[in-house]
Amino acid sequence: MAIDRRKIAVFGAAFVLRLLLICIFPSLPDLLTGRVEVSTPVSSFKRLQEGLFLYTRNVSPYDGGVFHQAPLLLPLFALLPDAKSSPLPTAIFYFLVDLLNAHALISISASGQSVQSRLHSAVRKHVRWDGVSVAALFLFNPFTIATCLARSTNVFTTSGILFAVSNAVGGNSINAMLALGFASYLSLYPALLFIPLVLLCYDRRLQGPAPPNSTSFIVQHGGLLLATVAGLLGLSCLITGNFWEFISATYGFHLLVPDLTPNVGLWWYFFIEMFDSFREFFLGVFWLHLASYVGGLTAHFRSQPLFVITSLLGIFAIFKPYPSISDASLFFALLPLYRHLFPLMRYTFFAGAAILYSSLLGPAFYHLWIYAGSGNANFFYAITLVWSLGLSVLLADVIFAAIRDEWEQENPERVGLKVRQV
């Protein structure tokens, strides 16, 4: 039971740390809620409060044009006591969601899919961290803590994705599709993870006793995902009453990006500057750019679907329309599963430095622009570029390391040789 004790210690410490933070700094959650790096228009807790206020007074929550999140969150939060007068229950609810996410991470790590799957077996499979360390890295990641304290609803999307993956690696493909359906219902973009996830389920199933037919397996699971989303949409329709209003206020808002509030992503500045007549075209380009990686990565890493999911999550953290640090924290949560690739990575220092640099200077430059008035939008935009650069370098490096790992597996006699770009 040593491992269990470690797990309890890590979970307890993470819980106490969060509790201490909100007890010592009671204004911290509200401060973080207002930060553009943490709260985006589609995940902000403040906007959720607004929607909740309207909902509890029997007004359509989308009437104010402020709330753009999924309607099923409303009855859930209506059960919790008011966050303004008694913030603790809501905060503890978020803490528990974080711990659940960490639990899912542990089960992903325990399955060992990251180092050894049906078609692939890493060269350095002994170099790895155990599940509790991975969970600890997730729980004590400042980005995760900030997201949790800011009560961003991205946390639920994260849960959906992590549970989908943990169920998939556990062989429970139906639950995986249900969880992915929930995540897609909340944030739309997780639907892009369907192909690698279904491949992951398929590989797991092939290892089992009764290997299914691949086409019917994929079609069945696609149908299941669609049915899940349709069911959730039906429930939402019951709650809001007006189907098209809620579709255009939530998914329309995701797809058409009408709110150009600054965030850590690359879309807002681009679309502020874009000529109106080309706006639709470039919306299409940006979304296709985001989606185009799915096919390429899946084709290349057919043997490692979990790695495809990890790298796609990294790509989403950079290129999705309203990214926040919580997307980066999800990417960083899955990265430690690939401890065995770290020795092959070449630019970790540069990437780490860029990420640290931008996460320290970002708030400062935002302050200079918005509050001090001594900077302009370019200050903050430059920092978000550095942030994206850091993430991209890290991502490219991991992908490079994974390719190198596959190559070494094919050519065992050349393990450890230096490579040089010509």
Partner: protein, 565 residues
Amino acid sequence: MTTKTGDQESPLASQVDPQTSVSRVPPPETPAAVQTRFRVIAAFWAVIIFLGFPIWWKTTSIYRASLPLEEMVHWADGKTCRPVFPLEIHLSTPSLPYIEAQHLLRTTQHTLDDLNEFAAHHLRLKLANDTTGDHTGQDSSEHVNYAARETPDTALTVRLLPQEGLASPRSELHAATTQLDVFYPPSQIPVSSSSNSPLSTFIAAELQQLYGEEKATIAHILSGDTARLASTSPQLAEDISRRLRRSMKYAETYHLSFSLFTPGAEPSSWDIEAAVNEYVSPLLQALSPISNFTVDTQVQLYANFAPTAPKPEYDESEAVWTLKKEGLSAFVNAAEWPLNPSIGTGPTINFILYVPDPSQSPLVVKENSASSWIVPQWGGVFLLNPPLSNDEQGSRSNPAHLSLGSLGPAFMTFSHQLLTLLGTPSTPASLPLRLQTSIRIRAATLLLSASSTMGSLARLTESLPSIPIPATVATSVSTTLSHLTATCSHLREGRFGAALASARVAETEAERSFFEKSMVGQVYFPDEHKVAVYLPLLGPIGVPLVVGLLRELKRIAAKRKAKAS
């Protein structure tokens, strides 16, 4: 930044270290790796071809609704419609038997036709149905249901009244109605045999004179050339072009702004609401078929002249302060007086009531002692010199409040100025007749202006093939054309009120279609600039994709060749 996985292979595949060891060449790519690379490139290109190109096509194609270009150009060239103005004049002959009245009508009409030299504008006489002829003067207040009526508008009613003891006929125009009374000696009733009589000549000449200015104005508008009409005196032509210069450009809505300016603290209030109700509202009511009006008022104290404006001079002989005529243009201190140039859409007509400082009172214009003048296409100014009161110290001051009575002359002047600024002709003396004239002139102006806008839009559409034409523009154009047709037929049938109503719709729609925002935006965006829009983002994304595709194609071609040989 493009983490394109296909490219990541190249450093590995070409891994070579020639300096340390020549023996270490990279192992050949396995067929599986080649296959994978092909799949990756195919995946990216599939997205581009099956999703990218449709999106590109859908979002950047320019929608051009089809416009009836030829018809629009014909309207602009005046080929479709030749506006005519047949004025129906009722002849009411309560004391004449029917046959004689008929005869008088015929001869008068004959004389009129002989006199007329401008075919587009002609007068048609008609015997009034009710011989009592007492429905006069109703038309000006009945404009609301113009469109509903099928019969032509009655322009004028001529009442023939016998009067003893007259040597020759004389006429009398009612100032407030559309009625012309003609008194004639009973001896002058035309006999059936004669083709001409002094009475019919007199009536014809009278009518001709009554509509002389209108005819000249319409001729001026339609042809842009007053010299064409021989009967138009140079004096009249000059008057007309001066009036057209001074009057405001036509607008659907005018904003009237009445401002009280005074250099001191008093007067600080005025009975403006009562004055507007008393003097302006009835006029606006009468003008409502022509345009809509809004009224704003303001009081501005301590309003000083501009420093560069000439100061009033004291005239000893008249004991008044005077402003030089040439200095009037600098009277309005445009920089400091808050005269909003535009309240909403549509132009603002400013009326300024200026109460001079007690030390400079009374203030008049030097040359003619006038106290008001018109600023062309801008508004009017009235200098009000209220009676001064003496207080205990013996200094004089303006009254604190301007009563309705003291505002009367000023607002009479303002209403007159308003009519002038709106381009209402100065003759004849009857206001309803002038308003009717105004309606006809406006209908003609709007017809021409909407037609020429259509022509401009057609030319614009033809000369700029890259601008989008939204469906709303096509709708507006068809509305304009149908209303122009309606205007034309209403004019032909003499229903001028309905013609103006249609013409107003046509003009509004024409302007809307011509100034459609989404159309204008593209004018400044030539095709060459699209490179600058596409390249910065799509270039960097596209180069690796295209290079990857070419490499792959080369490889496939080489493989085919190897297979064939």
